[in-house]
């Protein structure tokens, strides 16, 4: 009897279709997001994450429609991120059926947007997605625009800042690990998890089920997010949960 560690499959979406970026550059098309969401729902995923990786203005309604159609059929928490600029975008996504909305570049550009969204909609639905890259031993910096743009902002300072501004959760992606299948950046994950008292979701680099375990036991994350190992059928959510349970981690077995 305790809070379960969450396993969150993430679907990278572009123009209404699922893709998975390898280091955010090469993409492969892998189907209909709603169908994938239903599969994950049936398989006992604890949450689902949609990331709009192109987030172009002309496809904004495509994303809203996708969120709405997913919320029609999946009765589990749904986080949506990518290109969220302000409270109006947050509201549109919540109205469409998202439970949490993640802010990334907009939060880096102006962290008061986190505060504004948290005040208006509650901290429980405001996630800040932090993309961090190692710059020297024990130091990570925030990168935006899919890892292309350096900001010079210290990742731990920024995590504390958005926590103080009312973020309810941090989605932490290591830009060094993402797409490598070599596991989370555990040192980064642990440093951020210990820097804030809100939940941290570890992301970037999962290549096998042991990586998920390490994210919790060593990285001290509250939840783990992965894309390709689930999406290309290498492992099921159910298999991942049994693997974590064997390692002594509390999970929800459905």
């Amino acid at each position: 009897m305790s809070l379960k560690v969450r396993i969150i499959p993430c679907l990278d979406v572009k123009e209404g279709r699922v893709v998975k970026g390898v280091n955010f550059v090469r993409l492969r098309d892998a189907g209909d997001p709603v169908e994938a969401a239903m599969r994950y729902d049936a398989d006992g995923a604890d949450e689902l994450c949609f990331l709009d990786i192109a987030a172009s203005l002309e496809h904004r309604n495509t994303m809203l429609d996708l969120v709405s159609r997913t919320a029609d059929v999946c009765f589990m928490p749904l986080t949506v991120g990518g290109g969220v600029r302000n409270s109006r975008d947050v509201e549109a996504l919540l109205r469409a059926g998202a439970d949490k909305v993640s802010l990334n570049s907009a939060a880096v550009a102006d962290s008061s947007r986190v505060e504004e969204a948290a005040k208006r909609f509650g901290s429980q639905c405001v996630v800040v997605a932090i993309d961090a890259k190692s710059v020297s031993a024990g130091r990570w910096e925030i990168f935006t625009h899919g890892g292309k743009r350096a900001t010079g902002i210290d990742a731990l300072d920024f995590a504390r800042e958005v926590h103080n501004r009312g973020a309810g959760e941090i989605l932490l992606t290591s830009m060094d690990s993402d797409g490598t299948k070599s596991g989370f950046d555990l040192e980064l994950t642990r440093a951020v998890s210990e820097a804030v008292s809100i939940p941290v979701v570890a992301s970037g680099g999962v290549g096998n089920l042991d990586h998920l375990v390490e994210g919790i036991t060593i990285g001290k994350a509250s939840a783990v997010l992965a894309a390709s190992i689930f999406h290309f059928g290498e492992h099921t959510i159910c298999e991942a949960k049994h693997h974590m349970a064997q390692a002594g981690i509390p999970v929800r077995i459905t």
Binding site: M1, D72, F75, P77, S197
Partner: protein, 211 residues
Amino acid sequence: MRTVIVDYNSGNLHSAEKSARRMAAEAGAGDVILASEADIIAEADRIILPGVGAFADCRASLAAKGLDEAICHAVENRGIPFLGICVGMQLTAGFGLEHGCTKGFGWIPGKVVPIERFGNLKIPHMGWNSLRLIGTHPLFEGLGEGADVYFVHSYHLLPSQSGDCIAETDYGLPVTAAVASGNVAGTQFHPEKSQQAGLRILDNFFKWKPG
């Protein structure tokens, strides 16, 4: 028969609406509508009050549109079944302490207080946690002991009458998961986000005939 989900611009009503509609159809409990008009709410046969955000803000939004009086009329004078979800559940309390001290509906005597942080456990309490049922309430009929449901909150309701707490969950310390008294019930967790266990609870709500 008409169930009204109270729409007062408090977050995502989409999944509450979809899941309630589905379970109402299965239970043969008539239609489910979203409404933000006081007269429609006052005449409802069942009310679901969702709510996200802060206690004081939710209470103020309800009051601004006179919806609080409509809800009170239906619940207190007509005795219809009421289900509060998350902050909607917290609003059944005597008062809440989030963003100042604010009066609730007072159906469940007690107060809404911050979850006490235990050790290095994270706040908000976010994710799936098991229910420990206290007594037997029709809302939980057919639900196995220890069923996991989805929580996301930083405050919880501490009833002053222990009999009003019908389920707890463990987050280092006990956290109130559900309350009930007479025709009023509330869940701190989100049944509309809790997959099969949550759908079962909604189904039970539609079949519930209090008193």
